[in-house]
Amino acid sequence: MKRLIMNRFVTGLFCMLMTLPVIAQEDELKDLPGYVDFGDLSVTYGEPKITINLGGTMLNFVGMMSSAESPETSELISKLKGIRVQIYNTDDNADAARSQFSKTKSNLKSSGWEPVVQINEDDEQVLVYMKMDGGNMEGMTVMVVGDDEAVFVNIIGQLNPAELGRVMESFDVDVDLDLD
C-alpha cells in the first residue's frame, strides 16, 4: 500500500482531471432537499421576465463581501445554499401558471413540505411552503399567481424572514416592485 501512497501525488492527478468535467457539470442546487422544481412555463409565456439562480459559491462570495460592512447579513447569507426566482408575465392569461401552481403544490405536499400560508382569491393565489428537517429549515418556497404575473421563489437553506428587512437595508440596493 505504500506504493499507492507514494505515487498518489503523481498519478492521482490523472484521475482527478478525468473527473473534473463531471464535477463541474453537477447542478448543486438540484441535489439539495430544499430545491423545488417549478417546471417550465416559457412555452406559454415566453422567457421569464426575471430569472435568478444563485448557487452556494456565489452566495459565499456575497457573504464574504458583506462580512465587513454587515456581519449580520453575512451570517444570514452563510446559511443560504441557493436562491432561485422565476417571474413570468401572465398578461391576463394565468391558466397555465395556475396549473403549474397546483402541480407544484401537489409535489410539495408529497415531498414532505409543510404549508405555512395559503391564500386562494379569485384573482390571486399565494402559497408559502417550508421544508423542515427536525428543527432546521431546508428550504422555503413562495408562489404567487395573479392575473398579471406568476412569481416562483425558492430559498434553499435556512432563512429567518424577520431578518429580511435588515439584510436588504445593508445591501443598499433599490428594488422596484409593484406592491399593490
Binding site: R8, I52, T57, M58, F61, V126, V142, V144, V153, V173
Partner: protein, 172 residues
Amino acid sequence: MNEYDEKWEDRINALLDGELSAADADLLKAEASDDRELARAIVEAYQLQQVMDTVNVERAPDSLRKRLRAIPAEQQPKPAFRLFQPRWAAALAAIPLVIIAVSLMQPDKPSESEIAQARQDMAIAFAYLDKAGMMTGREIESTVGQTMANAVTGSVNRAIQSQNLTSKEKEV
C-alpha cells in the same frame, strides 16, 4: 491533500487492500454514502489503484540480467543526480498537472460586477418574499382584523416598512 484524505487514508487503503474487516468495510461504505467527499476519495483511490495495476514491469532478458550481474559493484556508475530517477521524473512531469488541477478545482472568483449583480438579485428575491408576506398580512387583516394580522405578520410588515420600496416593476 484535503482533510478527508488525511482522515480516511488509512481506512481507504486498508479497504482497497482487502485488509479491512467486513464490519469495518461496511461501516466505511455506509459513511461514504452520506459523505460525498469521502466517497470521492474512495473512488479516486480505487481509480488510482486500477491505473497502477495496469502498469506492467517488463522483465529484462536473462542474458542482459546475467551481464548486469557480472558487472562489479564498484564499476556501476552512481546516479549522477537522484532527481533523474524515473519516479522523480514522473513527479516533475506531473507538476504542470498539479497546477492545472488545482486551478480547475478552485471556484472561479466572480468579478465585482458579478457580485454586485448577485446582491441585486438577492434583494429582488427577498423583496418578493416580503411582497408575499405583505399580501398574506393584508389577507389576514381583511379576514380577522388588524390585531391578528400584526400578530402573525408583524415581523414581515416591519421589514417591509423599513425598506421604502418604490412602486415600479423591476425589469432585468
